[in-house]
Symmetry: C2
Subunit: 332 residues, 2 copies
DNA sequence: CTGAAAGCGCTAACAA
DNA sequence: TTGTTAGCGCTTTCAG
């Protein structure tokens, strides 16, 4: 594996000149520069990024730590982050914390050890582990969920309001016993969506005591179980607000296994627009979150902070929008 | 940011001792080791991975370059790779080539520059850019698609056979004019699936000339367009083999927009099992690929090669399995 | 404009 | 067992 000195030797110059020529920094005699270029290509020279970063004390790598690679919401964020990073010359490495605080911590350690330039994090919970970054001065921006107790940049969705509106929509459609299937306690989005749901019920003085609420992991299986429990209640719900798309799958399976008609028997609105929403019958009403934009905004915030760490901390809150479809119509 | 010499100074030992103590290599006096540990935690010391890797001439990082982060098939592979890497102390960084040879090349460069220990690659096409790795001696394993002309380890799916069986299944179900919507020419999985489809038709001497075949990008929109073209033919197909799940969405949308009943009017079998396959009506017949296993096998192969580069090159071919559901039944 | 030389933080011989 | 020392490959003063 060719090093800079191999190139220097071949071109008959010093390593300093090679470095300068290849990085186009201070001016180098065009003729020498050409010799260097040629030597480099002849040798198949690829600069050692480790050595470079070690010397420069900086890397052009961002870490993106998300809680579920298999969730389209997060992969859309990933695309957003990547697209922006790309145009600014940064690479992004994607880490999957799997909604697991320990794994998240491990990746934060890796991020620090590898001296990444910055981190976009969707925190699993009320983490303190992020202190590692603060200590070390690595910029972070939280995405989708806030970073409690840490004054860092954040890009969030007004998910409580969205849940409120979704619930209102169900009420307006004539549903009366509205239930909610949400994520684990402590996960901010799960709590916020539940809060929005309660706000809406409270606003119309509906069903305050009969708590048709179930929590589960943000996955299909738990949600199916939760939905079955609700549907088997003596007074089952006639509509459900579901906190993400993986859960929606479980809920729809539950409906199927109880032979309940979507919309007519049980209205459903789920968070996250998914490509298959219009393929089912009736099509699924969803709360579409601006996932891609979340990613682009987060990346821009992060890169800005990397280049100027004195900027004041900002929180950007994006809106979600309800897309009403057949699954929230009682009569076809 | 504390360095190893800060720790050494604080513990009153040499940096070598700190290194040894922290890495648990050769034996260190327990008492000294304890002092080092304490000094390290007091200072919030995190070893500099760059310096370490530079010195050791090795990194504990694998690169996984896939062609679409938003495709569940690839994210399942990612999980497989990650789970195995994790247990062996490696981190994996995920790169999204976006089915774009140039982007793939850029990430290969980054992989070389960052001196990753190895690469799992799902090649976009007939790439030569992978030469960069070979030159540099970085181990690669190809996953899902072969690396043409490069003798590297590979983990593939017998997708041609699977397509053959899927087509056979359609024939057995009574469909007579079977079409195929597959990916771009040159993408091996797309070509193989088409080949398997043709094999099956050929075997029964069916419809050899009337080519009901369309190609498009592995995405919903192109597939919708392609399906519409086929459906608007004077003699439209009565069944379709669809080469991936994103395409399946487009095809199903096309059916919907032409008011054709899935199964009854047009049978459909699609590659990749997706969670929503059973939510549509009738449920979708699919070819389930062992994506997660593809990832685990690839990672193991890669790690084995990293530790012993003299192993002979192997190709592992995994099987796919047809899951017959309602979308391939002509009569309900 | 170019080269010599120092050093980023760490590990691994080699000595002691 | 511990310390001294020499680099890993690169960039960047500082001289020339």
């Amino acid at each position: 594996m060719a090093t800079i000195s191999d190139v220097a030797a071949r071109a008959g110059v010093s390593t300093a000149t090679v470095s300068r020529a290849l990085n186009g920094k201070s001016t180098v005699d065009p003729e020498l520069a050409a010799r260097v270029q040629q030597a480099a290509t002849e040798l198949g020279y690829h600069p050692n990024g480790l050595a470079r970063s070690l010397r420069r004390q900086e890397t052009a790598v961002l870490a993106l730590i998300i809680s579920d690679v298999e969730n389209p919401f997060f992969t859309a964020i990933a695309r957003g982050v990547e697209d922006v990073a790309q145009t600014r010359g940064y690479s992004v490495v994607l880490c999957n914390s799997d909604e697991n605080a320990e794994k998240e911590g491990r990746y934060l350690d890796v991020a620090v050890q590898e001296r990444v330039a910055g981190v976009v994090l969707s925190p699993t919970g009320a983490e303190t582990k992020v202190e590692v970054l603060r200590q070390r001065g690595t910029p972070v921006v939280a995405v989708d969920r806030p970073l409690v107790g840490a004054e860092s940049d954040q890009v969030l969705v007004d998910t409580r309001l969205a849940a409120y509106e979704a619930t209102e929509h169900l009420l307006a459609a004539g549903y009366r016993r509205i239930g909610c299937v949400t994520g684990p306690a402590g996960v901010r989005t799960a709590d916020d969506r539940l809060a929005g749901y309660r706000d809406a019920l409270h606003a119309v003085g509906a069903e305050r005591d009969a708590e048709l609420v179930r929590r589960a992991e943000y996955r299909a299986t738990g949600a199916k179980q939760a939905a079955l429990e609700l549907l088997d209640e003596p007074e089952p719900p006639d509509a459900l607000l579901v906190a993400n798309s993986a859960m929606a799958i479980g809920v729809l399976e539950a409906l199927g296994s109880r032979n309940l008609r979507l919309g007519a028997d049980v209205g459903v609105v789920a968070f996250d627009d998914v490509p298959w929403a219009t393929l089912i019958n009736p099509p699924l009403t969803v709360v579409a979150q601006p996932a891609y934009e979340l990613g682009t905004v987060a990346a821009r915030l992060l890169l800005d902070r990397i280049s100027d760490n004195t900027r004041e901390v900002t929180t950007r809150t994006l809106g979600a929008r309800l897309i009403a479809r057949g699954s929230t119509q009682r009569t076809p």
